[in-house]
Structures are given as C-alpha cells and as structure tokens.
C-alpha cells in the first residue's frame, strides 16, 4: 500500500530522505514484537558479569551495597559475617568471586582479619578486597592498604564510589 507522502511529487528541495512510517495497525492486528534486544543484553550481562561477595553485619548496609552493585550489573552474594564469608570461600560455595567488599568493624572476625586471611591463602589471595568503614581513621586506612586491600571506602557508600572502584578492577 502506498503512503500518502510518496503519492505527492517531491520537490527538489523538500524530497524526503526518510520513508514515511506505515499507518498504525489497528489494535486487533497488533502482534507482539519478539524482543531480540533483551536476549543480546542478557548475553552481554553474563559475559561481563562480575561476582562480588559483600560482607556486612548491618542488614541496612547489606541491602544498600547489594543494590548499588546490582544496579551496575554485578552479581552479588551477601553474608553477614567474615567467618561465614571465609567458610563459603574455602568450601568453594561461592565460585568465581571477582571481588570481596567488606565492612571493617564487625562483631567476631573483623574485615581487617578477613583481609589478612584472604591474602594469606594461596587459593584466595588474588581476589581484590575492598574495606568499608564509617570512620575515617588514617591509621586504619593505611594498615588495610598495607595488608593488601584494593581500596578503602567511607560509609555511607555511594553509587559513584562503587562504579569508580569496579572500573579499576575490571
């Protein structure tokens, strides 16, 4: 069927380069358009997907850090203690962890101790470890960095902090 635009003789100045859109389908004729784009995006996601292990005893902070990471398309596993994190890592229950992000101060094992254990382990030492803390204590920060922490983030953690971080580690 010809569109009304094509029927008019185009003048040299106004000849349309863009083909006129077909008239809209009636509701009954509308078909569902297969969503090819989504499939491609999903494949992308898996290929680029980083798996982050987030450790924090605060349920609020776990929810926030998980959301920030997932918004950047990372897969996130959250745990509430460093002991649990080590268990999962050593037992191979969280395979392919690309990064560990942990609160500094937690009851039981601290994030600093977790950092040391990870760096002492031949199996785990290559995994970058990021420490989060609500307190800006220079000694603490330098001790963590000396022990091999990838970075130190001050809480409350912002999306911009995390995206900067993940871009470096990728």
């Amino acid at each position: 069927m010809t569109s009304s635009v094509a029927a008019a003789a185009p003048s040299p100045i106004l000849s349309p380069k863009v083909v006129a859109a077909p008239p809209p389908l009636k509701a009954a004729d509308r078909k569902v358009v297969p969503v090819v784009v989504a499939a491609a995006a999903a494949v992308d996601e898996v290929a680029n997907e980083m798996h982050v292990l987030a450790v924090d005893d605060s349920s609020v902070d776990r929810a926030v850090i998980a959301k920030i990471l997932r918004s950047s398309k990372y897969r996130v596993t959250t745990v509430e203690s460093a002991t649990r994190a080590l268990e999962l890592l050593c037992l191979g229950l969280v395979p392919n962890v690309n990064m560990i992000i942990t609160d500094y101060w937690m009851p039981g094992m601290t994030g600093y101790e977790l950092l040391k254990r990870v760096k002492e382990s031949s199996k785990l030492k290559e995994i970058p470890v990021v420490i989060m803390s609500s307190e800006n204590v220079p000694n603490r920060i330098s001790r963590c960095l000396e022990e091999g922490a990838e970075d130190f983030l001050l809480k409350p953690v912002r999306p911009s902090d995390v995206s900067r971080l993940c871009n470096r580690i990728r």
Binding site: S58, S59, V60, D61, A63, V64, K67, I68, R70, S71, W105, S134, K155, P156, V157, R158, P159
Partner: protein
C-alpha cells in the same frame, strides 16, 4: 483520591522531610537507585530494615541504661550501629543525635545517655511516621495508576 493529588501530597511530604533535615542526600541517592533500576520497593525495603534495626537497638540501649552498673562500652557499640544504619539510609537527624550520644558514652554519663536516648527515640518515631506515610502514599499512587491502565 485522584492521582495528581496523591502525587502532590507525596511530593510535599518528601520536600518537607528534606528541608527539615530529617533526610539527606544519601536518601536521595537511594531514591535515584530505585528509579534508575526500575525496581520499585527498594526504598521501602531499606526503610523497613532501618526501622526494624533502630527499634531493636533503642530497646537494647534502654535495657543497658536501666542496669545498676551501666556498661558504656556496650551502649556505645549500639549507638555506633544505629549511627551507621541511619547514615546509610540518609536519616540525617537521627545520625547527628547518635554522634552526640556517643559523646555522653565517652563521658560515661548515665543522665546524658538517658537524655540522648529520649531524643533519639522521638526523632526516630517522627521519622518512622513520615516513612510510613510516604510508603502508604506510594502504594496508593501505584494502585491508582494500575487502575487507570
């Protein structure tokens, strides 16, 4: 109530929460995360976690302060936790009160701590009420929008 009126109410509520310093930029960041991700319910989830947490901590602190001999270290640890989660959710006023509360813990002042506890409790209840109204309005708006489709 019409959708526009509900939205106006929600907007006015959020405006006043920000201008009164009840919530700060961190809360705004959480709202943005929710909007960008297209995941309604994130703010509700975090707010609920915060309120549950705060309620528990306030009760623990109250119990500790009732003891004949107060363990100020333990009180301080709880206040530190509350300060942390209020900072993470953007509950600015509660966060600031926690900072002052920690001073009283350092000074080992039972009276100071009891006073700070009363203030933090009031501020938390006030904030919780506003959060609850906010979530109710959001639900009403969603329900209204859904009906319109």
């Amino acid at each position: 109530m019409a959708g526009a009126a509900l939205r106006d109410q929600l907007s006015a509520l959020l405006s006043s929460m920000f201008s009164q310093g009840l919530v700060d930029e961190q809360f705004e960041q959480l709202q943005m995360l929710q909007d960008e991700g297209g995941t309604p319910g994130f703010v509700a989830e975090v707010v609920t976690l915060f309120c549950d947490d705060a309620e528990r901590i306030i009760a623990e602190i109250a119990t500790l302060l009732e003891q004949p001999i107060v363990s100020f270290d333990k009180v301080d640890a709880f206040v530190h936790q509350l300060k942390g989660s209020s900072a993470s959710v953007g509950a600015q006023k509660v966060k600031f009160t926690c900072m002052q509360f920690r001073q009283f813990c350092q000074e080992k002042s039972r009276d100071g701590c009891l006073m700070a506890l009363a203030v933090v409790r009031n501020e938390f209840y006030d904030l919780r009420n506003k959060f609850q109204t906010m979530l109710q309005l959001e639900q009403q708006i969603q329900a209204y929008d859904h009906k319109q489709q």
